[in-house]
């Protein structure tokens, strides 16, 4: 039986990277299909209206969260590969983590203020 008390996250990081990638792929297909079947008219107003339905905003938000979490896992992987000084790696992780956390808030704010 897997001992869940151990702070091992090799598998969960790997699995989440793939889960977020699938989320992004599904959203990309949805947006492509909608773009073809329901092409917005040129101009900011039409594009804004295109994004306004709450379900579409929710999907877009889900995509952006998946993208940001995917980026976080990717950055962590790269730092684990190349930066072996623990103190420097921790600082870089905090830097990227703070930037990505800011993007989560910012993306949510932008998408939700479309309503």
């Amino acid at each position: 039986m897997v001992d869940r008390r151990k702070p091992a996250h090799g598998f969960s990081d790997w699995a989440w990277q793939r889960a977020t990638a699938m989320t992004m792929l599904i959203y990309s297909i949805i947006i492509l299909v909608r773009f073809v079947t329901d092409t917005p008219a040129p101009g900011a107003a039409a594009w804004r209206a295109w994004f306004t339905p709450w379900a579409f905003r929710a999907l877009t938000l889900l995509f952006l969260w998946a993208l940001i979490y995917h980026a976080w896992l990717g950055v962590k992987e790269i730092l684990m590969d190349y930066v072996h000084n623990t103190s420097l790696r921790a600082k870089l992780q905090m830097l990227f983590g703070a930037a990505l956390a800011f993007y989560v808030v910012w993306a949510t704010y932008i998408i939700w203020s479309l309503a």
Binding site: V2, A8, G10, M80, D81
Partner: protein, 232 residues
Amino acid sequence: MKFSIYRFNPDVDKDPYMQDYDIELAPDTRMLLDALIQIKELDDTLSLRRSCREGVCGSDAMNINGKNGLACVTPLEGIKQPVVLRPLPGLPVIRDLIVDMEQFFAHYNSIKPYLINNDTPPTTERLQSPEDRAKLDGLYECILCGACTASCPSFWWNPDKFVGPAGLMQAYRFISDSRDQAQEERLENLEDPYRLYRCHNIMNCVDVCPKGLNPSKAINEIKALKVKQNFK
């Protein structure tokens, strides 16, 4: 025939250097290792490992014209000259073409490369169906020469933590053995973010394996089993 060979003797040399050799080979010389043995007859300070000279013992893995391989199974016919020979990359050099394989074998030991079965051994042997035996094909043939692991950037960057393609393929060899009872523990032993998950599938290992094996495939089979284990 022209050769350019990496030389380093830590007792004498401050830095490693490349030494050129231009020798007349015996007419029936076919493989690179045969040429190296002839060079060693002329210059006995050149150090290299070799034993079986037919691709079974895995002693003479080296970097040949930029690609890891076994000197004994590398034909001289059509080889680019000068033949540039260096020790396996990413491993500490002991002298000339001889590298320290201690780390490599420590990783191999860490995956418990032996059958774990707590049942009372039968009087003759533990039987296996032909289908179960076939699952070990493409895995058991590994001779542990280290060509794959020493070609893997993930191993170069984290040699102390990443098990490497050779060790991981042997891990899968025992995970997929129907007679082994420690599959769970073996998978758990690779849970750490470094031991297995430093592999990013660049497949240098597959490219260089002198036995034509596919460590990348074995590593992905382990990852697939990790999914099953975690969602069980």
